[in-house]
Symmetry: C2
Subunit: 403 residues, 2 copies
Amino acid sequence: MVSSKGNLVVAQSGGPTVAINSSLVGVVHEALEQDAIAGIYGAQYGIHGVLHENLIDMRRVPADVLMGLRRTPAAALGTIRHKLTGADCERILDVFRAHGIRYFFHIGGNDSMDTTHRVHQMALAVNYELFVIGIPKTVDNDLVGTDHCPGYGSAARFVAMAIRDTGFDTEAMTLSSPVKIMEIMGRNAGWLTASTVLGREGTGSAPHLVYVPGRPVASETLLAEVEACHKRLGRVVIALSEGARDLEGETLGSALQPKEVDAFGHRMKGGAADGVARLITEELGLKTRVDKPNYLQRSFMACASSVDLEEAYLVARAAVRAAMAGESDKMIPLVRASSAPYQCGTGIVALSQVANRERKLPDVYVDRVTGEITPAFVAYAGPLIGEPLVPYARLTAHCVEPA
Amino acid sequence: MVSSKGNLVVAQSGGPTVAINSSLVGVVHEALEQDAIAGIYGAQYGIHGVLHENLIDMRRVPADVLMGLRRTPAAALGTIRHKLTGADCERILDVFRAHGIRYFFHIGGNDSMDTTHRVHQMALAVNYELFVIGIPKTVDNDLVGTDHCPGYGSAARFVAMAIRDTGFDTEAMTLSSPVKIMEIMGRNAGWLTASTVLGREGTGSAPHLVYVPGRPVASETLLAEVEACHKRLGRVVIALSEGARDLEGETLGSALQPKEVDAFGHRMKGGAADGVARLITEELGLKTRVDKPNYLQRSFMACASSVDLEEAYLVARAAVRAAMAGESDKMIPLVRASSAPYQCGTGIVALSQVANRERKLPDVYVDRVTGEITPAFVAYAGPLIGEPLVPYARLTAHCVEPA
């Protein structure tokens, strides 16, 4: 157990999610119950707020505002992407000393876990008593050491709902514009793109093709797959990772994209979706439409997963309790006990095993030959999006022409 | 009143919405109660289904499927954009004769109302007894003769929610990427883009700038407005119509877009958002992110407006009753009795007054100098998105640094 009373700092880091405020509130709620914790401070804009001593007194935040934050997207404290320098580490410790900070909670992804780990090491080196715990957060779901990441389940729910709805839209427009591409977040991680299959309602429903970064394909392969699907169904809805690549490691579809520079001499950068849309239009003559929900994937509160929000809160409370028990240099992972029925708790893992590592979509979840996302993935990710989607109605089964 | 028993055809036309199936079900439900109506047929893919005799027997559709369709997005019958030829009109009448069709209901926008009007004229010319009624539908809200259009309220609710959420996301990332652009549907109509202001929560909240096609601005004006907002708030969230234009009538921001052609010699076509993002990045040095929810705006069922779904159903039932009363060549508009409290009924208007006309966002709803969307617009559009958005929580008011 910890010996002395001290102050706490919590920071939010990296890309916002709809669940990251639930983790913030979890830290505050648990800290309010701990006698060893005096001041509870929130750092504005992540580690930037520590470096610049922009700290908010979270004890002054009314209870109803804290409750409201659990249904408020993005990072209420503000966030930042910032790679620590050596001077930063020293400055952080100076600030911690000045404010009597003994507990540091960092909500973030693998970069943030590296920052957290380094702060711990620095404190250890100068013999400053500090308990630092990482709280996982990323819609990319690519942190190692945890079954899944808070933030991911809600983003997965959004993309599942979005691909289903745009799929119905495409089906209605089959005769006019039969191909739809939805570009999904995840430069290297295929988890979110794969999650679109959770929007499927039986055979023939969207997404029909899924392209994740972990399965590079030749343009010719993609075109053959699109053409085959169009022949079979008359329409094609594609879930395309923004980081989908061809066999040369280039962005999928970029070969046909213009290589010209803009008026300022900068090389143009097109997303995967625009390039693939162009490819399909030019090579197959099929009118192709693109959806890029972009930042809505991580911020659309109306599609939050109840499971995700609750777990984001729980890992944060567990993080504070771990620090109270004397733990440091750790992350609180989610540990799944069972998928059916879904049961999940928290664990503890060394930050050194998490920092700067990426968990790729494993082979058991994606067929590298066909690109099909496997039933094992559905069993894994299905419970994370919360309540099952309400099924839609179809006339198909009743398509009987009059006598 | 109509004299003889006959069959009915209903068709869905143009871009899908989340409410168009409610109108389909409204037609079927009302028709089922009318003794003068024998067969109830749905045309597959709009007027294409009439031309090709692809008709579905809607009497065979189970009641629970009809109920489910009221919560299913896009057009269950399928839809199409098709400009009628003279030969088409003759063919339509031949099909109607062959199937004993006396009632034709066409759910669509201003193009569809033109089609409907022409079918009526053709029937009149050859003395074929036919009752045709148009049922309004468009997310663009640009039909004349009606207070607003079914489909619009739900799309407005989606963009209001989307801009609010991406606004919170932007606010959290103020120090990293302070400018966000959301591209909104509507090539000529500014109604949907204006609706983003319904997502505002007090001063300083998104959207900070709104660009509609009806207020062309010079690139310099846009840049000055963005810069001023950034100085004031540190961030800028822009609702940008896909059809936003500069003073020369060109797509806003297109001056900086490369004029190069692609590998096939085709001129590249960029959306307004990409061009404006490039403009802001290059000229102001502010990192700018883009959201393009595109077809989600018209298909995202989770954001359907309860008011919109109900009205889409009501105009359809009223359309059938109008035909029963002997009306033809008419559209059923929504007629607002009051905004506070919101009360709205149906009316009747000649198709000739609706067909091929566009209702632009009037001056009273947008300040042509500042671009600000007026309180009068909020009073108009607010009730159409259904239940008020649940307010989010903010730490801002509690941003007190520790002593």
